[in-house]
């Protein structure tokens, strides 16, 4: 059970409070001048992140307007065919990868600690690193259109168009650039998951978590399983483009449909990854303005989790016209309809909350209401297109363009705008203008419907999507003109919102504290906010502490709760247990650094040089990046504290160092490895996909890789794994020499195992360019070897840490995390061997 906090003590005298405040301010001071860019604090990085996503929204929006101008008249020549195709590819990709997903992560990075009464996210430098990757990748992608080099294969990038029929670097920019950004997205997801699970305030049991946190937890978990299939697919497609391994080329035994499966395994959950965190904003806004707790908290959580699961079973409805058997059509139609039920439950929870409360009129509610009107219509057309026979007509027409914009603008953009008007005071202490907000709303709402409602009809009349022009007199002319006019009205509305956010507000006075009289923790913030987040980390026993816990603000402000002081001048926050939020650790957090920027630049170099097929600079960048990351880990992680425990207030003593499943680092490793494993499973899926669709997979007789070398590899790698696990135990028992020799032997076995794994296809002379079978074997083997190589670096790192005295028997985070890594790696190796050596025997 949770700890018993006991009665709060009296507030310390005022001088003591003042001294505490000064020490806290000193510890959490933001760097100034050009060093400002070395900040890693979540409120600063979150702000950069949000600002950049809005910039990309603007960029994607301008492209949309150019496209609408081109389509205003039949046979128009405002944009060339080629430029139009680049524009729609970049528009779709930017809106998905550089706006819709990042803005969810950006908002979460900015507000998640405040909603949880924490001082900071668990890995501040990881969020900064993710931001820099995002910025670099985003600019690279958007910039390419100015050099006529942008991707032009559609945001879905179907091969063989993108593998063999588009020369130039456009497709490489897409594949490598977005893989880079996806890695940043996964980093942010890891951060958000651990933030939600481990940095909650004491007492915030799992049934008291704010709904926003539930939603982003589900969405971040979905990222872990949705992005890896796309990363795996991008890897295959890029390898086909660069080295001619025929994964998607029927002439080499491949199949273009594999890409569609991997893409939509990502692409459909992606819709809900965008949608859930936006509904999450509604789930915070609606109770505030209904002035009562949400009705149906449990239902909403259940619905959000349910959508998370269901969304992974729907991807095939994007492929209804590829010639599937009737049974698949029926099953996936039904599964797609089923998702309407949890969605409906959430909407009705909001309606019930409004009905039960005394609703206050406000600009955020206006946007929330607009969102409902638009989204419900989009949801209903979604129900229509999910029925296979209707889909045969509507698929790939403007009907779907209308549908998806109703869903995404209604389900994501309007809630985000509502969130902007609602949360803006938390950013700089000032409200946005009610007047501008209303004008902007009516322009955006009207413009949106004028633009997109007619498109339903345009599509039903037979206008396909992704066309740079159309013939006159087919019934499309007037409808398209109306859509173009609407698009500009919508743009005017959004321009006003942007202006409202960036307009100078020097003269405007600060908002009062908690201006909307909300009940959740983030509104304890002073206006303007302080860099420390919370004056003291509170004990929670309700869902709406500001409404339900008497004198809450006073107690927080007077420092009566935990960590009211920074005695050692260090940044600190509290880690709690996953289910019932029992305090477990006082977590020391790192401060400003430029190292994250350097790590992102070099990592970006790897992908960007790769785009231009400059393999040597690319490899050098990767090595530099690796070196920088090792330096980063070496100097700033798993630091041995000066004392074992610390008094965090209220008579509670917490350890400063924990390892294993109680520590944030162990969870980060575990969650990251789940994503890595998912990418690997996607490659294995490719192997079995080819087996089901191709009679000659594996070929008969099987040309390789034989059984001998793969089996040797499996044995050696299991040995490497066992040595690593044993080394962890020897370290715990302080058998230094056993630890060193064991781990050294482990790394030698690992290297030998990796070599043996490569030897299989090598000695049987499998040529990956000749056929998809050797290509698939090689890709599995290469993936596993790469993972082993990283594992060896980790083993050597642990040896060095102990030699340097940075790891001891008791302070053993490094080896415990590395052992965890090796559990996954050993599993990967065994699966690889079973597939490449074992499966041909069964097949």
């Amino acid at each position: 059970m949770s700890i018993d906090p006991g009665p709060l003590t009296a507030a310390p005298p005022e001088e003591v409070q003042r001294a505490q405040t000064e020490r806290l301010l000193e510890a959490w001071k933001q760097p100034t001048g050009w060093r400002y860019w070395s900040a890693v604090n979540n409120s600063v990085v979150g702000l950069w992140y949000v600002a950049m996503t809005f910039f990309f929204l603007l960029f994607g929006g301008v492209l949309a307007l150019l496209m609408r101008l081109q389509l205003a008249r039949p046979n128009n020549d405002f944009l060339s065919a080629d430029l139009y195709n680049q524009a729609f590819t970049v528009h779709g990709s930017v809106m998905m990868f550089l706006f819709a997903i990042p803005i969810f992560e950006a908002i979460a990075v900015m507000f998640l600690p405040q909603m949880l009464g924490a001082r900071e996210l668990p890995f501040p430098r990881l969020s900064a690193f993710g931001f820099w990757c995002f910025l670099l990748g985003g600019i690279f992608l958007c910039g390419s259109i100015f050099f006529d080099a942008a991707p032009r294969g559609g945001w879905f990038m179907y091969p063989p168009l993108t593998s063999k029929y588009q020369s130039g670097i456009g497709a490489d920019i897409w594949l490598l650039g977005f893989s880079f950004i996806e890695i940043a997205a996964i980093a942010a997801a890891v951060e958000i998951i651990i933030g939600a699970l481990k940095t909650r305030p004491p007492g915030m049991r799992i049934n008291l978590i704010p709904l926003y946190i539930w939603y982003v937890l589900v969405a971040a978990a979905m990222i872990l399983f949705a992005f890896p299939p796309l990363i795996a697919g991008s890897l295959l497609l890029e390898v086909e483009r660069a080295f001619h391994w025929p994964f998607f080329d029927p002439a080499g035994g491949g199949d273009p449909l594999l890409w569609q499966h991997l893409f939509w395994l990502f692409g459909h959950p992606e819709v809900y990854i965008i949608f859930l965190p936006s509904v999450a904003l509604m789930a915070m806004i609606v109770p505030t303005f209904a002035q009562r707790p949400i009705v149906g908290y449990g239902w909403i959580v259940l619905a959000a989790v349910g959508i998370g699961f269901l969304s992974f079973g729907l991807w095939v409805h994007h492929m209804f016209t590829t010639g599937l058997p009737g049974i698949s059509l029926g099953l996936f139609s039904a599964a797609s309809e089923a998702v309407a039920i949890p969605t409906g439950v959430q909407i009705f929870c909001f309606i019930a909350t409004l009905a039960a409360g005394r609703t206050v009129r406000s600009v955020p509610m206006l946007y929330a209401f607009g969102s409902l009107v638009i989204f419900v219509l989009g949801g209903l057309t979604g129900v229509m297109v999910a029925v296979a026979p209707f889909n045969f007509q509507a698929h790939d027409t403007f009907f779907v363009v209308a549908h998806l914009h109703y869903v995404l603008i209604g389900g994501a953009l309007f809630p985000i705008l509502a969130g902007c008007y609602y949360f803006f005071p938390l950013i700089n202490g000032k409200k946005l203008s009610d007047k501008l907000g209303k004008i902007a709303f009516w322009l955006a709402f009207t413009g949106f419907n004028v633009a997109f409602l007619p498109m339903h009809l345009t599509g039903l009349r037979g206008m396909p999507r992704r066309v740079f022009t159309y013939q006159a007199g087919l019934g499309f002319d007037a409808l398209n003109l109306v859509s173009t006019v609407g698009a500009f009205i919508l743009a005017a509305g959004l321009a006003i919102v942007f202006w409202d956010m960036v307009r100078p507000k020097k003269k405007q006075s600060y908002s009062e504290r908690n201006p909307w009289n909300a009940g959740t923790l983030e509104w304890t913030q002073e206006m303007p906010g302080k860099p420390w987040g919370m004056r003291s980390i509170p004990e929670i026993d309700s869902r709406y502490p500001l409404w339900e816990q008497p004198n809450f603000l006073r107690d927080v402000d007077e420092g009566r709760f935990y960590l009211a002081d920074a005695e050692e001048g260090k940044r600190e926050s509290i880690l709690t247990s996953v289910i019932d939020a029992r305090p477990e650790q006082c977590l020391r957090l790192p401060g400003p650094t430029f190292i994250t920027l350097w790590a992102a630049l070099t990592m970006g170099g790897f992908f960007i040089f790769g785009t231009f097929s400059l393999w040597w600079p690319s490899l050098l960048s990767l090595l530099a990046s690796l070196a920088i990351i090792i330096y980063w880990l070496w100097t700033e992680t798993a630091l041995i504290p000066e004392k074992a425990e610390k008094d965090v207030g209220l008579g509670l003593k917490l350890p400063l160092y924990l390892s294993g499943p109680e520590s944030a680092g162990w969870w980060a490793m575990f969650i990251t490895m789940l994503a890595v494993l998912t990418a690997f499973i996607s490659l294995v899926f490719g192997y079995f996909f080819f087996w089901t669709v191709r009679a000659d997979f594996p070929p008969d007789p099987v040309p390789g890789p034989g059984h001998f070398w793969p089996l040797v590899a499996a044995l050696l790698l299991l040995g490497a794994w066992a040595q690593t696990v044993l080394a962890r135990r020897w370290n715990r028992n302080d058998h230094a020499s056993a630890f060193y020799t064991g781990l050294l032997l482990g790394s030698i076995l690992a290297i030998a195992g990796g070599a043996a794994l490569l030897a299989g296809p090598w000695v049987t002379e499998l040529d990956p360019t000749s056929h998809v079978y050797p290509a698939t074997v090689w890709i599995l083997v290469t993936w596993t070897t790469f993972q082993i190589l990283i594992g060896v670096i980790m083993q050597l790192y642990c040896i060095a840490r102990r030699v340097a005295g940075r790891m001891t028997a008791r302070y053993d985070i490094d080896i415990r995390n590395v052992a965890l890594y090796w559990h996954f790696t050993a599993f990967t190796a065994v699966v690889t061997v079973a597939v490449i050596a074992g499966f041909p025997l069964v097949a």
């Binding site: 179907y158 909350t353 066309v467």
Partner: protein, 286 residues
């Protein structure tokens, strides 16, 4: 279906407005639970089940193969035109491009494939779309019930000129269809006027026959569309230009402008008179 969707939409919005205006206390907690369960779960489940039964029922009929002995047409989507082959029982199939004729009331089976990228075969007025995927063969069976001319288009983004990849379907009486097919099977008409003769000479002299076939002449290329009866078609350039000499001139001289990215090189360097002769010759290939 559309009507149902609109009714549900209005109902939800009305409910939300009512909720927004309602005084607190007029709805008890139990009320709220009924609302969430009923509106969010029970009603949608019933409606969706009914919709699925109604919506999925036609699938078996839509996917059923055409009866034995039906007309079989192989259509291949290529960047950015359609190769059409009538697979008649006789030894030689009839090959044409960018136009399909169908006898009314008779089932037909399309065999859909692609040698390059993914396309999607779609005649909105006659049936749903089916993708043409390299390395696979998809089938689409349908029975046209109305006489008339219908437009078809590629529905899957297939590269630069995806927008300029259409075709026409003419559904006609069986007798008219048979006559048409017979004519399509015949070799090309020899040119009759001096201008047309000059056009044919120019066609053969400038290497057009390397890509295009005109049966009955030495031109036997298979890369591009078969032009044996190009003059009989409703359009040229895959549904983008009218079948007029002027359009032919534009197409031959400024091919890249008429269809950006097209494989065929523009022949604007030929003497204007030659191009006009070519246009007359081709337009005459009825």
């Amino acid at each position: 279906m559309t009507g149902g969707a609109i009714v549900i939409w209005i109902a939800v919005i009305a409910l939300a407005i009512h909720a927004f205006r309602a005084r607190p206390g007029s709805h008890s907690g139990r009320h709220a639970n009924y609302l969430i369960l009923g509106g969010g779960a029970i009603v949608p489940t019933i409606v969706l089940t009914a919709l699925l039964i109604y919506g999925l029922a036609p699938i078996p009929a839509l996917l059923a193969p055409a009866p034995e002995g039906s007309l079989k047409i192989a259509v291949s989507g290529e960047q950015w035109w359609w190769r059409v082959r009538y697979e008649t029982s006789d030894a030689d199939a009839v090959v044409l491009a960018n136009e399909i004729h169908l006898p009314v009331g008779e089932p037909v089976e399309f065999r859909l494939e692609s040698p390059d990228v993914i396309h999607s075969f779609w005649i909105p007025a006659l049936g749903g779309k089916v993708d043409m995927i390299p390395g696979r063969v998809n089938r689409l069976s349908l029975t046209p019930t109305k006489i008339g001319v219908f437009r078809g288009a590629c529905a899957e983004y297939c590269g630069t000129s995806h927008a300029l990849m259409s075709f026409y379907v003419r559904v006609e009486e069986k007798a008219a269809f048979d006559r048409w097919l017979m004519r399509q099977r015949a070799t090309a008409l020899p040119p009759s006027t001096p201008l047309a003769k000059r056009g044919q000479a120019s066609f053969l002299a400038n290497g057009c026959g390397a890509c295009h076939a005109i049966r009955g002449t030495p031109a036997d290329g298979v890369v591009g569309p078969d032009l044996t009866h190009v003059g009989s078609r409703l359009s040229i350039g895959a549904g983008i230009l009218p079948n007029k000499p002027k359009a032919f001139v534009h197409w031959i001289a400024r091919t890249d402008q008429a269809k950006p990215g097209v494989l065929m090189p523009a022949f604007g360097m030929l003497p204007k008179a030659d191009i006009e002769a070519l246009a007359v010759y081709l337009e005459g290939l009825r």
